[in-house]
Symmetry: C2
């Protein structure tokens, strides 16, 4: 897209309430808070660069019919990792990481040098690395993939270029991942309708291994679809259950339904073990929440993450404390230097859950 | 309330959209669709009678603190039966049963002579019998108490009189229940803060017996509170799971939370068995729904109920077919004379669930 046209579009989008002017990290930019014409939500426009948003990807819940229905030719299958989506790009002389919504992510931006080799941006300064950041020490998600032992890791799954909301094709992506030694998601290979059986086996294996799922990418097009395996739904419920009051209840119902469809497709009768896991994902977490409430009058999840710079850590925790959205409160517990890192620990308090438990345990009545 | 004042109130309520003129069973009446001043939602006003609505009752979710907080003196404890709430009253020369919302219930009105001895209305024509109708052959609820082997039964739990939205006191109620041999809910007795332990034992026994819960009624006041036991929450989930898309998802979350609080209060660790039951309530029902969908392209619950009159049965099924609310469709399957009854069988189809399964199994994509 030519620069002038983009600037006009940004102005129009701001007028229509689809984009906002933002200022952070000493930078001014326009952030598209909604899809706008060909620009996906999360697109960010700087004086010197347009970083395209990462488009929404449709979900298939039944592997075999979903693939048959959505893809007509060949498609690539890659592992889907349970973390948070970032785009990393060079803007002026800085390497920045953007959240899905187009905010500069202070955490990933701080740690970007640990997550990938930044020489990629010297040699290809207009590249946009689309990746998942995941691990037990991530500051956003309660859950983390079982195969990441500590801290966080980055998994590149797509590449784009400044100025265009299009993915590089798979071969080019693989070549650049290789050339720049970008850490990347596992690519299972190229498939078509004839070898869906293999994908079914991969799905069952990922399910056993506690992994999240698969992303499919049509050869020669921008078309994609995602698919999660059964266990991953239980894991999501487990991670979110103490936020029962903050998360929309359809979050849980969607996952139960996806689990039922996964079991059904793979001709797995709902076993005693899986029922127990599903029931336990709710009851064990709520039992912990009650225990926690009795001990501290709080219900919270404790996060720990590492920053390189004290300023970024402070800025991060302050911005969390500013946004008390959906009844969630953030309490800083620790910010201390440990070796070469600043270790930040904070609690995300579910104030609605605290309110509900207080009311219920205190003998209050509710009306249905 | 004097007649003239009530009529004025009804007119005002209609103007304010809180009441509606209705016509059914050849009768014209005003139905209060919302609480209006001292008249509860469900109040019905005929030329010759005002039948008060049954007020909403608050729920306590923790027995001990709930009782301590809500009741200051003594209170009665009675069994809560899982069925549907009706008020039965004589209007002119007819005995009518009203739903909670103030509609004439064709089913209960038809069967009223089987459910209680109607001489009560000859001797006390201004009595309003407030009761639960429950059983496997009820036309509204998927579930039914385990102790009712067939058809339906009536359980009186309160008495009111025409013209006044006040409950008769417990002694008078018990006397009249006795005098008119009204089938009634079990009255456990009178309690106070000092003997809550006994109520706890009753709660645990009801839980083991698959019963629903307890209603508490303060001595000397109109104050009431209800309480359900742990298993009853799982039963509700089990009964509603195939309507996952029609029932608001908070229905399920509320019950999971109540179950967790029940276990917590009774110092029951979430056991493997209870987790399995909770998970199974979702997964087994969804597995049946999928099986049913594959067989019939429908997901439905089959209801069977018995009427005395063919006209009432026809009127009932026609009114169900007219109201296709919340994506629920009613299909008549059978209406045949069997001995002294007209047996009606119908299916309540969850059209949203059918749509969702069709889309998912057909390989459609969804966007979160």
């Amino acid at each position: 897209m030519e620069n002038e046209r983009v600037r006009q579009e940004a102005e129009a989008a701001i007028q229509e309430g689809k984009a906002k002017r933002e200022q952070s990290f000493g930078l001014r930019y326009v952030r598209f808070s909604d899809d706008y014409r060909e620009l996906p939500r999360g697109t960010v426009l700087f004086e010197e660069a347009l970083i395209p948003g990462y488009p929404q990807i449709g979900r298939i819940v039944v592997l075999r019919s979903g693939l048959a229905e959505q893809f007509h030719g060949s498609f690539w299958a890659e592992e889907k990792v349970n973390g948070f989506n970032v785009r990393i790009a060079k803007v002026g002389d800085r390497i920045l990481a953007f959240s899905r919504g187009g905010f500069i992510c202070p955490f990933t931006t701080d740690r970007v040098g640990d997550l990938l080799d930044l020489t990629v941006f010297e040699e290809a300064p207009d590249l946009v690395v689309c990746a998942e950041v995941a691990g037990p020490e991530n500051p956003y998600h309660e859950g983390s993939p079982p195969f990441i032992p500590a801290d966080v890791q980055l998994f590149t799954f797509d590449l784009m270029r400044h100025g265009s909301a299009r993915f590089l094709n798979q071969e080019e992506k693989m070549k650049l991942i290789d050339r720049y030694r970008l850490p990347a998601t596992t690519i299972f290979g190229q498939y078509n309708r004839q070898n869906i059986d293999e994908l079914e086996s991969i799905g069952l294996r990922l399910d056993r291994e506690g992994k999240e799922g698969i992303v499919f990418k049509e050869v020669g097009s921008q078309k994609r679809a995602k698919y999660v395996v059964g266990q991953s739904n239980i894991q999501d419920i487990n991670d979110a259950a103490i936020n029962l009051m903050d998360v929309h209840s359809s979050f849980f119902m969607d996952r139960i339904l996806r689990l039922a469809l996964f079991l059904d497709e793979h001709e797995l009768e709902p076993s005693r073990a899986i029922k127990e896991q599903l029931g336990g994902a709710f009851l064990d977490q709520l039992s912990s929440a009650l225990e926690q409430y009795r001990g501290t009058h709080h219900v919270s999840h404790r996060f720990k993450c590492r920053f390189r710079s004290y300023e970024n850590a402070s800025y991060f925790i302050e911005s969390l404390q500013r946004i008390r959205k959906q009844g969630v409160q953030t309490l800083q517990r620790r910010l201390e230097q440990e070796g070469e890192f600043w270790v930040l620990e904070f609690e995300r308090v579910s104030t609605r859950m605290v309110g509900l438990l207080g009311h219920s345990l205190g003998g209050g009545v509710t009306y249905d």
